[in-house]
Point group: C2
Chain length 204, copies 2
């Protein structure tokens, strides 16, 4: 089993390589990739050796080959379908953003309990009533969900999703979700990034 | 200078300790803090020694004392004032969330170019027209800004903020901002978290 932090880093390298490719660069040295991704170069070199890709001292790494090598290593399936629960301010910003960022992972349906939102389409994604989420997950073999409901609703929603077969959750609520050990939870909190900026701006 | 990753971890420990205190726990062992924060326990123990705090084998660490020790080490000023630029879906979700999460860091003003949003109040924060942002930064000694404008506007906004004296930016746009070396940029991308969940759900 690979450490979570290693997977974190590989995903960040892949994103930076993708950007370099869009900017038209064909080669990159490990110290440049280290600078762009914010990790030390010795770790970058070690990680890339782990995925079985070696650069050359003369040219560095080939950008598109390395990106493909990491994508293969991560074996992201060709197309992953995700659902989102809670079509509020944050939910709608995510629906818009996901469409533009990663063609392999797409949000295919959204769910809400507010009658004014149900049956509406936001950023070309249809909003179902939350009562139909269990059937939707089972009928469409959905494994991953994003939760952007208010904190008070989070645990109840998470339990309903896990009961229906969800195996991974991106949790934006400030609640620590109680789920069985085999369900993977990723908690995202933008305040942590803000606190980091405050720390470095005030000087250490 | 302390490594960025160490600061990252300390901020996460502080947040988890704060939650434990709210749940009424008075002591915690390093392996428990490791489990909650997602870092290996040897790293937790090393980090806590670096901030000069030792637990005892019998009782572990005192939760409130340790939280205070980390906060002192990070020397977060008593109150930090931040501005937000781009009061769209994501901006509004952030305005609401920040108010609830961290009393020491507060968003004091928001800026937008949309006439329908200017002079309005969202989550008790007033929205100014973007043309007045430079004066506002200088007159109020603001160091940190959050950017949630569309990608096409991001670089122009970042340059205007840095010219007026901003020293740190939380960047939500997918653009790599070109700013002088002494300006600290934190790029936040929720797709990275989603990709991580997809990886672990598909099994490594
Ligand atoms: N992690 C972060 O950095 C971060 C940032 C901003 C907001 N948040 C969190 O994200 C969540 C959403 O924030 P927001 O500003 O978009 O809130 P919002 O009130 O605008 O949206 C919440 C949505 O959830 C829906 N909802 C409520 N109960 C539901 C249920 N049982 N089933 C289905 N839908 C339900 C509501 O109808 C609404 O559309 C909150 O928990 C907030 O704390 C987190
Ligand atoms: N990093 C992430 O994980 C993530 C997630 C969601 C959205 N985003 C990004 O966040 C940004 C905002 O997304 P959104 O869904 O809230 O978009 P939105 O269109 O709802 O909001 C953008 C706001 O910026 C304002 N604006 C535009 N130009 C401006 C200027 N020059 N000065 C001041 N204000 C200006 C608009 O009037 C609008 O209110 C986008 O860049 C999007 O790609 C990032």
């Amino acid at each position: 089993k690979i450490a979570e932090n290693t997977i974190n880093r590989l995903i960040v390298y892949k994103k930076e390589l993708n950007r370099l490719a869009t900017d038209g660069l064909s080669n990159v040295y490990s110290h440049k990739l280290a600078h762009l991704s914010g990790f030390p170069s010795h770790l970058v070199r070690r990680d890339l050796m782990n995925v079985g890709y070696n650069g050359s001292p003369a040219h560095g790494y080939n950008v598109t080959e390395l990106e493909k090598c990491i994508a293969d290593f991560l074996c992201t399936p060709e197309s992953v379908r995700v659902i989102l629960v809670g079509v509020g301010n944050l939910g709608r910003a995510i629906l818009d953003y996901c469409q533009q960022q990663n063609p392999k992972i797409s949000i295919v349906a959204a769910f809400d309990k507010d009658k004014n939102k149900v049956n509406k389409v936001y950023h070309s994604i249809y909003t179902f009533h939350i009562d139909s989420v269990k059937n939707y997950i089972k009928e469409n073999n959905i494994d991953v969900a994003i939760i952007t409901v208010p904190a008070a609703e989070a645990q109840e929603i998470a339990s309903a999703l896990v009961e229906s077969g969800i195996k991974g959750i991106v949790n934006f609520t400030p609640v620590r979700l109680q789920v069985p050990a085999e369900v993977y939870i990723e908690n995202l909190d933008m305040m942590l990034g803000l606190e980091k900026v405050v720390y470095f701006v005030n000087g250490d």
